[in-house]
């Protein structure tokens, strides 16, 4: 039982990371129909921005700040203007191909221009273990969990409590209608890209002490976030969070109690089941155009 609780807690910490990545993925998808297959690499990259800044002599906190700014510029603005905008009008597929190419580009770039070796990364909090009702949790996991929760709550407040947020949601749900209502749709779309950039930067800084900064970290993270987003509900921030947590916990439980060789399979099976039985996701709204 203690072990079960242990798995639950660790799973939550991992799930929180997936959630963080999945949320931005979902936002961008909603507002611009962009399925970003490079999302994993988006999480991999900011850690290298931090390291580069620190090599240039910046203290960690400054490096982190720089990294977030650079991420907003590159993974937010540049990504939208240079990659997404030119191709939006051609439908989903060319853009999918393009983001796949982009993921390769970022991976290889980090490898060739920084290093192929995993890089140690400064921890936000001193590593220590805390015992909670028989389950041991590292302070790092707790930090991840805390920051993830704060971020997501803040994001929810932004989306539901502020005028800006409601405008963004309107854009996400029906951009034509939003345009008629005089909402600056273009700007709203850009904002979601910026938010995504910030989220991945935060995620990157959170996980790199555990994952280490490595060029191919995106491979697993991207797919995980992707699955989390769909399971939870492609068009709901809440859903993405639920999906992330389900994924993290499920992975641990299946590995411990069913099969470690097939641990990767269970999320996929659930994914298929969800799509077939409830395509809008567990918490998602029905999208007429997709069914």
């Amino acid at each position: 039982m203690a072990s079960f609780f242990q798995l639950l807690v660790s799973g939550l910490a991992t799930g929180a990371i997936y959630a963080l990545i999945a949320v931005g993925f979902t936002l961008v998808w909603q507002t611009s129909q962009t399925i970003n297959f490079a999302q994993g690499e988006f999480v991999m990259l900011p850690a290298f921005f931090v390291l580069a800044a620190m090599n240039a002599g910046a203290p960690f906190w400054l490096a982190a700040a720089i990294s977030i700014v650079v991420s907003i510029a590159v993974l937010g603005v540049l990504f939208k203007l240079a990659v997404v905008d030119p191709m939006l009008k051609y439908g989903v597929l060319p853009l999918v191909i393009s983001t796949i190419a982009l993921s390769l580009l970022l991976k290889e770039g980090a490898k060739e221009f920084y290093s192929s070796q995993a890089q140690p990364f400064p921890a936000l909090v001193p590593a220590a273990d805390i015992d909670i009702l028989g389950a041991v949790v590292s302070t790092q996991s707790l930090a991840v969990l805390a920051v993830a929760i704060v971020t997501v709550v803040a994001l929810n407040l932004l989306l539901n409590r502020t005028r800006l947020g409601r405008q963004m949601q309107a854009t996400a749900q029906n951009s034509t209608l939003a345009r008629i209502l005089g909402i600056p749709v273009e700007r709203m779309v850009l904002y979601t890209f910026l938010i995504n950039a910030v989220l991945v930067a935060i995620a990157s800084i959170l996980i790199s002490p555990i994952y280490l900064a490595k060029f191919n970290n995106g491979d697993t993270l991207g797919l995980a976030a992707f699955i989390a987003a769909i399971i939870g509900g492609f068009n709901q921030v809440r859903g993405a969070i639920l999906g992330g947590v389900i994924l993290g916990v499920l992975d641990n439980l299946s590995a411990a109690y069913i099969s470690s060789q097939y641990r990767g399979a269970f999320p996929l099976v659930i994914l298929i089941a969800v799509i077939l039985l409830r395509p809008q996701g567990l918490l998602g709204r029905v999208e007429e155009r997709t069914i």
Partner: protein, 380 residues
């Protein structure tokens, strides 16, 4: 469609003439390695070690007065691509071929190099590679069929364990080691209490540690890559595993020790090829490597480095660039640091192309790897 007709000259250009004819003043020793994809870490280590040796040798005038010419071709960690690249270099009549590291790719390429009668010095550690009776394949590190028995003996005699749990990474490196290990365990009738596969790149080891605790074996053998080793050790410490943790080379590497924080304390095991070996030549190499590429080289780096000196020594013995003669001479040869400092440690090659060299039993004490015993070469 007419597009393709238009491609015609390009294709010929792209395929026919892509391979530049190499000059007479150089010897063509191409390398086919995993520079992108899953094997990129091993591949780049191998490449960097190799390049260091080549530069040293070329600086001293090369082999038999010829400079070494070594283009490095990426296999993308894919067998099909690696086969294509090996074919590509074979088209230019190489003297010897270096790499690849992935055993799967090696298995494909061996067939081609054997047909072309070109020696291939590979980084793969799968037992099967040298058991196919292929006279053109050589290794510069222990095959798993040599390292695992040493571990097994240690677990029996050193740890005196009656049962053991195995944690391995589910790729061709981990699976190969796991299979050989379990064979050796059965041979010594030590019970395998748990057999746990993990994914490469796995971040959360809590489930695996929970299972290990449940298995409650006398010892735990861990056979995963560096970053995963570190993550596992942290989780093991977190959940308070108190059984001896046994590793093979990787787990006791300085890099893992640093990454794992204090969690690596007390880890013990067999140390094959490693920059931590208590040997001035190796230490010196490690320092040079770190200085030039500014990362700590793993055993693949040493594989690549020694491979080049292996070629140099054998070639100078036969006194000409003759691939067949090389293959014949290399079997059963012994190289001492006295004859060739670049070989770092005395090494011998058997009739299968497998290497034999002394190795160590180590333990992590005070955040450093401490060698507790030197295991002599099997040969003597």
């Amino acid at each position: 469609m007419s597009r393709r007709a238009l491609f015609a000259p390009l294709i010929v250009a792209g395929l026919g003439l892509a391979n530049p004819a190499h000059a007479q003043s150089t010897v063509y020793i191409p390398a086919v390695l995993e520079l992108s994809g899953a094997g990129a870490v091993s591949g780049t280590n191998f490449r960097d070690g190799m390049l260091m040796a080549i530069d040293e040798i070329n600086a001293k005038g090369g082999i038999l007065g010829k400079k070494i010419e070594t283009p490095v071709l990426d296999t993308q960690s894919d067998a099909g691509t690696s086969r294509a690249q090996v074919q590509k270099v074979l088209d230019n009549k190489p003297y010897v071929i270096l790499g690849p590291v992935f055993s799967g790719s090696v298995m494909v390429d061996m067939l081609l190099t054997q047909q072309a009668e070109i020696p291939e010095i590979v980084g793969g550690e799968a037992a099967a590679i040298t058991q196919k009776g292929n006279p053109y394949v050589f290794r510069t590190s222990f095959g798993q069929q040599f390292s695992m028995p040493k571990i097994a003996n240690y677990i029996r005699d050193g740890v005196k364990a009656k049962s053991v749990a195995v944690l391995w990474v589910n790729n061709d490196f981990g699976k190969g080691g796991r299979d050989t290990f379990i064979k050796e365990m059965n041979a010594r009738n030590i019970k395998v209490a748990a057999d746990i596969s993990t994914e490469s790149g796995q971040a959360d080891f809590s489930a695996d540690v929970v299972k290990l605790k449940a298995a409650n074996a006398d010892a735990i053998f861990v056979y995963v890559n560096e970053e995963e080793s570190a993550r596992f050790l942290r989780e093991a410490k977190k959940q308070g595993i108190n059984k001896p943790l046994i590793g093979e080379t990787t787990l006791l590497g300085q890099k893992v020790i640093d990454l794992a924080g204090g969690a690596a304390e007390g880890v013990q095991g067999h140390v094959g090829l490693t920059v931590d070996a208590p040997n001035p030549a190796v230490q010196d190499f490690a320092a040079k490597f770190k200085k030039r590429f500014n990362y700590v080289c793993d055993h693949n780096g040493i594989k690549g480095y020694t491979a080049v000196y292996f070629i140099k020594f054998v070639t100078e013995k036969i006194g000409k660039f003759d691939s067949k003669a090389f293959a014949e001479k290399a079997h059963g040869i012994t190289i001492t640091p006295k004859d060739e400092p670049g070989i770092l440690m005395e090494a011998s090659w058997d009739k299968n192309g497998d290497i034999d060299r002394e190795s160590f039993l180590g333990e992590v004490v005070g955040g450093k790897q401490k060698i507790v015993k030197v295991l002599p070469k099997l040969g003597n």
